[in-house]
């Protein structure tokens, strides 16, 4: 049966050679190599659950009276968008499960991408010849964040409305162009015209997912062409060593996919996320205390909250409205640094111009690791500042005091992180007590001709 299928495919497509290559493709082993895979499998779950949701979602701001089965909101005036998501949540069998799984998958998707990115940075996997793939990955991270934001904006509940209001203000805040930019996206003044909703929907369900899928395909194609990087314990700069695709790796990766999907469905079924019926529909004059976006927007909320009330005004003209600093400039700097990193690290003499197939351990390049950690800690400190209001309710440390603390913290902690990390790397390297690090030298011994030769196994 197998033989006949292979023969049939090979005679028609010449499939035997590529199949042979594919089945024997080598995957080096390390647990951190799973992070990117987890992200990919989350994307698969997102597409599958998203297709189900698309069949129900209505992108419309037409008002109606809610008549679904959630009693507390019956008779409430709301948009068709919100009502359709209420319908999915309460009146479509398994609808809430799929919706919550979709939401959880989005959150885990971006967690996995970020951890994958951190791994790539700390081990130097972005170095030549893999810079192009690194840039594809950073682009996918940006698209994923935008996609997630659009996703929870589509619901048109109170939180999504507040998020869109902030997005509108950030668009408005771009110097000189901002007002017009926001009017083009929203088709007029906030809260925008009816055409906003189909625009958000087509971006969320088609354009951005297609872009991510395309970049993902290129990302994988480049990995296959260049082979995976690996730690020096396994292979060398010339030889990649690991488990072949068939049979070992196929089953393990399939297992990872099923486990990721299973955990996401468990979360979607058991752990409530974004209970839109508690927030209710959005109106521009409504807001709620304790509003927190999905985690991957937290760094922007933190930056917007930390920024002192500074606006650049010349005469009557506000050149730089305040939301620009935290909402536009900050992410532009973060992504700018991420994109610039491979050439920047070469420029700073942290990396060389040679090709690298072997990964560094973070400690092998203390300065580079310390710089990357300082950068990550800086972003994380600002991210943490996005939760100050929640922390206030737990601790009753004054909100204003916390904001002042985080303003100083975000500026100072990167320097501290830099020196601590560098020191730790050097200490670790000096001790060389790493379980993965085998000794790679050769024992030599003097031979009869007064020269040296590798020691025989029995005498070593």
């Amino acid at each position: 049966m197998i033989r006949r299928t292979v023969a049939a495919l090979d005679q028609r497509l010449g499939a035997a050679h590529p199949l042979k290559r594919t089945l024997r493709y080598v995957f080096p082993d390390h647990w951190t190599f799973m992070l990117g895979e987890i992200a990919m499998y989350c994307f698969v779950v997102l597409v599958a659950t998203g297709i189900f949701l698309t069949f129900w979602y209505v992108p419309s701001d037409a008002k109606l009276q809610y008549t679904g089965s959630y009693v507390p909101l019956q008779g409430t005036s709301m948009t068709e968008s919100f009502a359709s998501v209420m319908h999915i949540s309460f009146d479509v069998p398994a609808g809430l499960l799929v919706r919550q799984t979709h939401h959880w998958a989005a959150d885990v998707f971006i967690v996995a991408i970020v951890l994958h990115l951190v791994r790539i940075l700390l081990t130097g996997a972005y170095r030549k010849p893999r810079e192009l793939n690194y840039w594809l990955g950073v682009t996918m991270l940006g698209l994923a964040i935008l996609e997630g934001f659009l996703g929870y904006s589509l619901v048109d509940d109170l939180l999504s409305g507040m998020g869109l209001a902030i997005a509108y203000a950030v668009a408005m805040s771009v110097p000189f162009l901002g007002g017009q930019l926001a009017f083009l996206v929203w088709n007029g003044e906030f809260p925008g015209s009816s055409s906003l909703w189909p625009r958000l929907e087509i971006l969320h369900v088609f354009l951005i997912p297609m872009a991510i899928a395309t970049l993902l395909a290129l990302h994988l194609a480049q990995i296959v062409r260049q082979h995976h990087t690996q730690f020096p314990e396994e292979g060398s700069e010339r030889v990649v060593r690991g488990t072949p695709a068939w049979p070992g790796y196929t089953f393990r990766s399939l297992g990872l996919f099923l486990i990721v999907a299973g955990v996401l469905f468990l979360l979607g079924g058991l752990v409530q996320i974004n209970p839109i019926w508690e927030w209710g529909p959005y109106e521009p004059y409504l807001s709620t205390n304790g509003a927190q976006p999905d985690w991957y927007v937290g760094w922007l909320i933190g930056a917007l909250r930390l920024m002192p009330p500074l606006e650049v005004v010349i005469g009557d003209y506000t050149v730089v409205p305040n939301p620009f600093w935290g909402g536009a400039l900050f992410p532009a700097v973060v992504f700018g640094l991420l994109y610039a990193w491979p050439p920047l690290a070469r420029r700073l003499r942290l990396d060389d111009h040679r090709e690298h197939n072997l990964l560094d351990r973070p400690r092998d390049n203390p300065k580079r690791t310390a710089l990357i950690v300082a950068f990550l800690v800086w972003v994380f400190a600002i991210f943490a500042a996005g939760a100050t209001d929640r922390f206030y309710f737990r601790s009753f440390i004054s909100y204003e005091g916390q904001v002042w603390f985080f303003r100083a913290f975000a500026l100072l902690v990167p320097f501290l992180a830099y020196f601590v990390t560098k020191r730790v790397c050097k200490e670790l390297r000096a001790r060389e007590e790493h379980p993965l690090r085998g000794w790679r030298g050769t024992v030599i011994e003097r031979n009869d001709q007064l020269g040296f030769e590798p020691a025989r196994k029995d005498s070593a």
Binding site: L96, F176, L266
Partner: protein
């Protein structure tokens, strides 16, 4: 599935497994007889190594000792996963309960996943193989490509003219392709300044009722709207608070804007456009800061006693105040438009708190 049926299936599966295990042991014994030990080790990568003339790679390892116990576990996990998936179907039909649905399909997927991973690690043949990293880049071919590209201009005489024309058409086409973006929305302009408020416009609450001067006590607030206008325009909603008249510190030219201690501000934050829906009012003056309007998005804090001045947070402009007066029937109405432009700042917004009501 009935418990009895399940049991029967389990017995059958275990029986089958036992048979498989015996079969496998027999096969391995045969294999060991046929192949000398050294040859057996290299078998897995032999086909790949053939005819490729490559440098010596570390010898691959091949662990082909069977693990019948792992095979049994995999089968049990798969059967358990099947039970969970059947459970999903049953729950879907009988209860539609989100927790049960999520639990059954999630557990099923995780069990199947563990089974697959275990199969990959313990059941199928364990081997490490190698391949070569390919160093891309061929100097000779690069040169050929460049030459081939350069050949494109052979025989072209008026190169400069053609290139300029090409650049012109490229730029023009680019412009023509970009311009339709402007169709996506209206031009920004004075539109942003327009609000439904003007002198004499009645203030109503969310249900459309007028707001009498005794509606609020000092320290209370209410959301106000222009009578007969849309509530959804960002120029509409007001945050109306009542303070003690001696708490007010309004600028001299706004002294008449607060009848009975009622002050009205645009509810849309000048920072990022959220609704400023929090009102802080001290119950014990000695230890608590004064009254404030607070936006829950980024906690911009405005002083309602002093024309909406920024007390804390990122907002760069005061919250725009709307002058109030008592109408003929004693309820609140606007005494004019806002003192400042409403909504989040953008390039071109005017920064002129002293200007006449718009």
């Amino acid at each position: 599935m009935t418990p009895g049926g399940l049991f029967a299936r389990l017995v059958a599966a275990l029986g089958g497994l036992g048979g498989l295990r015996r079969n496998r042991e027999r096969r391995q014994a045969e294999l060991h007889q046929i192949l000398p030990p050294g040859k057996r080790q290299f078998d897995a990568v032999r086909s790949e190594e053939q005819g490729r003339g490559r440098e010596a790679a570390p010898p691959p390892e091949l662990d082909e000792t069977g693990d019948p116990r792992a095979e049994l576990y995999v089968a049990l996990l798969l059967i358990a996963a099947a039970v969970a998936f059947v459970g999903f179907v049953v729950f879907y039909v009988v209860s539609e309960d989100t927790q049960l649905l999520g639990l059954s399909i999630g557990i099923g997927l995780v069990l199947a996943g563990v089974a697959a991973a275990l199969a990959g690690k313990r059941v199928v043949i364990q081997e490490k193989t190698t391949d070569e990293y390919v160093a891309y880049g061929d100097r000779e071919e690069r040169r050929e490509v460049a030459n081939h590209l350069v050949e494109g201009k052979v025989g072209v005489t008026r190169r400069k003219l053609l290139f300029s024309s090409l650049a012109a058409v490229g730029a023009a086409l680019g412009a023509a392709a970009v311009v339709p973006i402007a169709s996506l929305g209206p031009r920004v302009g004075e539109k942003v300044y327009e609000t439904p408020w003007s002198a004499g416009k009645r203030v109503v609450d969310e249900r459309g009722e007028p707001i009498a001067l005794d509606t609020l006590s000092p320290g209370e607030f209410i959301t106000g709207f222009p009578a007969g206008e849309s509530k959804e325009e960002i120029g509409s909603a007001l945050m109306i608070v009542r303070l003690e008249t001696d708490e007010l510190e309004l600028p001299a030219d706004r002294a008449d804007s607060a009848p009975g201690g009622y002050v009205a501000y645009s509810k849309i934050c000048t920072h990022a456009g959220c609704a400023v829906s929090l009102f802080r009012y001290p119950t014990f003056d000695e230890t608590q800061p004064g009254p404030a309007l607070v936006c829950p998005c980024h906690y911009s804090t405005f002083n309602p006693a002093d024309g909406g001045k920024v007390l804390f947070g990122p907002a760069g402009r005061p919250l725009p105040q709307l002058p109030l007066r008592a109408g003929a029937d004693g309820s609140l109405e606007a005494a004019g438009g806002f003192y400042e432009p409403i909504g989040p700042s953008y390039g071109g917004i005017r920064e002129d708190p002293g200007a006449k009501p718009l």
